[in-house]
């Protein structure tokens, strides 16, 4: 009993650095400027105001930027799912000449983070006139190094499916794509869930790539836009930054809390298990 209480106590203390920043972000965004550095600090806004939220949309086309981030992340997620499910299935279940070599080439993507190749990637997209467009933010994660982990997870999943499943499908007259689409893919929901979650978050969080590739505010993504709320001296406008930060974090947080079981267990169950 005392041990139980001790564990609860330790867990509660451990929660502070995880939960308090989120609380502080949301509450500070509701405080008037005069209150944000008040001493002693207050856990709740004394006179809550939505001024900061109004400024978020007045100073930048934040709605537009939000949509940019959202549609890029969705396109990257769907695209990565298609690319990685096909490749993962082929590596796991199709015996074809050259599969071993291709697999090694693809896995090399795990060893080359985009930070290593950011200079040539910039020059390449520049040569095609695609700098300051969303193409690099879509194509690189969907087809390049970040998609390799997705392919690997898919492969690890498809490898566990029993042979008999596909044999039954063959008897019913299905070809390769039929087996993939009708038999195996519908069973891959846990892997699809895990890949979707971390692909979406990866794209949603990207920072280096947007600041390298994008230069006009209309095209900015959310992480890039968050840091642009500065006053005339270049100092951060804290309550506005935190209001925008809250807007960027809250929807994903709410979805996570509602579906936390699928989130956590999906991530833990797939190929990442080692």
């Amino acid at each position: 009993m005392r041990l139980k209480l001790l564990i609860y106590g330790v867990l509660l203390v451990c929660c502070v650095p995880f939960v308090f920043p989120i609380w502080w972000m949301a509450t500070t965004s509701l405080k008037p400027v005069a209150e944000i550095f008040a001493f002693p600090p207050s856990l709740l806004p004394g006179s809550p105001t939505l001024d900061a939220y109004r400024q978020v949309f007045e100073l930048q086309p934040f709605g537009r930027q939000y949509l940019n981030s959202l549609y890029i992340a969705l396109v990257v997620t769907v695209g990565t799912l298609a690319v990685s499910a096909l490749a993962g299935y082929a590596f796991a279940r199709v015996k074809f000449r050259g599969a071993g070599v291709v697999f090694v080439v693809v896995l090399s993507g795990l060893l080359v983070p985009n930070e290593v190749t950011i200079i040539p990637l910039y020059r390449m997209f520049d040569a095609f006139g695609l700098v300051d467009t969303h193409w690099p933010l879509i194509l690189i994660p969907m087809l390049g190094a970040p998609s390799v982990l997705a392919t690997f997870i898919m492969r690890q999943f498809f490898i566990t499916l029993p042979m008999e499943l596909e044999e039954a499908g063959r008897v019913d007259g299905l070809g390769r794509f039929g087996l993939f689409w009708r038999v195996c893919l519908p069973l891959a929901r846990p892997a699809i869930g895990a890949v979707s979650i971390f692909t979406f978050l990866h794209s949603w969080n990207l920072y280096l790539e947007p600041i390298v590739f994008l230069s006009s505010k209309q095209k900015f993504t959310v992480p890039q836009a968050l840091t642009q709320y500065v006053d005339a001296y270049g100092g951060p406008m804290w309550n506005t930054q935190l209001a925008a930060a809250t807007l960027s974090a809250l929807p994903v947080l709410i979805i996570f809390v509602l579906a936390q079981r699928q989130f956590v267990e999906g991530l833990a169950q797939t190929g990442l298990k080692g």
């Binding site: 139980k4 929660c15 995880f18 939960v19 989120i22 972000m25 500070t28 550095f37 002693p40 600090p41 096909l86 490749a87 082929a90 199709v94 000449r97 291709v102 693809v106 090399s108 060893l111 080359v112 983070p113 930070e115 290593v116 190749t117 950011i118 200079i119 040539p120 990637l121 910039y122 020059r123 390449m124 690189i140 969907m142 087809l143 390049g144 190094a145 998609s147 794509f177 978050l201 949603w204 969080n205 920072y207 280096l208 992480p223 968050l226 840091t227 935190l242 930060a245 960027s248 974090a249 994903v252 996570f256 936390q260 079981r261 956590v264 991530l267 833990a268 990442l272 298990k273 080692g274």
Partner: protein
């Protein structure tokens, strides 16, 4: 049938020859078609750029002047002579080592606590995991705000009568702050992976160890750790490679300062290439980063043989 009989029989009856599209051939075609998008993507966005990095690193590229000249090993000599490279590598090593040690220990500690099958652990698991889904830059901004000289943390410390330092602007605390911000952001991910691994350890093993008189610590050390060692290795590789990619946190919190105390390699590379337009030198730095990733990965694969436990 009768028509056929009228003609002279061919040396091999066509009906006996196997059709060209055997299952093997069809599978080869299907397999290649299925991996094609991924393969093309890797060639276009990994292999070709990697070759170009090597090519750029032996050239001097002047963007404003529009010149691109072969300079041989000059960028590599510059690398060896760069006074700042030592501190940069030191900061990179400090960040990665600090983050990996703290992250894995805290993740394992939390996972063991959550594995005690108490009521309400799902709530705690959700709370510990929630920063993982918060936008990285949003998380970084709020910590930056908390760690200001007159920010929330020092405010609360002041209430307790402690005069806190200017966390992000003092040489001693800036690196520690950046590590801590990143630690709490992502430790939930490793925690969940550890929790799944812990739940896979058979209860009979603990029972047997207990009967043999093993203490709680001995059970953890001799039963738990060996059995979850594959997960420890996996999380270690992912965390180390991830720690070498840290950029947004540095750019938002410290801009590499004070002086160069938090200038990690990726941030330095970004500065050289995209702020000072030294693309040639930046490419040499990229290759340095790439070799570090390669060496670390190779070392860890070797370690795997040494101490990862496999059920034979």
């Amino acid at each position: 049938m009768t028509l056929l009989l009228d003609k002279p029989a061919p040396p091999q009856a066509p009906a006996e020859r196997a059709p060209y599209w055997t299952m093997r051939r069809r599978d080869t075609l299907a397999g290649w078609l299925m991996v094609l998008p991924q393969l093309a993507g890797i060639v276009a966005f990994v292999i070709v750029p990697l070759g170009l990095v090597v090519w750029y690193s032996v050239h001097e590229w002047n963007v404003l002047g529009g010149t691109f000249e072969f300079v041989g090993g000059d960028n590599y000599t510059a690398l060896a002579d760069d006074q700042r490279l030592g501190p940069v590598l030191r900061a990179t090593g400090l960040f990665s080592a600090g983050l990996v040690v703290l992250n894995l220990s805290l993740a394992l500690f939390l996972a063991v606590l959550l594995n005690q099958r108490l009521r309400g652990t799902v709530v705690f698991r959700t709370l510990f995991f929630s920063p993982v889904v918060v936008t990285l830059v949003a998380w970084t901004i709020v910590w930056g705000f908390l760690l200001q000289d007159n920010g929330g943390l020092n405010g609360f410390l002041n209430v307790l009568g402690i005069d806190g330092p200017n966390w992000l602007r003092s040489g001693g605390t800036a690196m520690a702050s950046v590590i801590v911000v990143q630690l709490f952001k992502n430790v939930g991910l490793n925690m969940v992976l550890f929790l799944a691994a812990l739940q896979g350890v058979p209860a009979e093993l603990y029972e047997a160890a207990r009967i043999d008189g093993a203490s709680a610590w001995a059970r953890f050390r001799r039963v738990t750790v060996p059995l979850i060692s594959p997960t420890i290795l996996l999380t270690m590789i992912l965390t180390i490679v991830g720690s070498l990619q840290v950029f947004a946190q540095i750019a938002v919190l410290t801009q590499g300062g004070p002086e160069t105390s938090t200038t990690v390699l990726v941030y330095y590379l970004y500065q050289q290439a995209f702020q000072f337009h030294h693309f040639g030198y930046g490419s040499a730095l990229s290759l340095l980063l790439f070799s570090i990733v390669l060496v670390l990965t190779a070392v860890q694969w070797r370690m795997r043989r040494r101490w990862v436990f496999h059920e034979a």
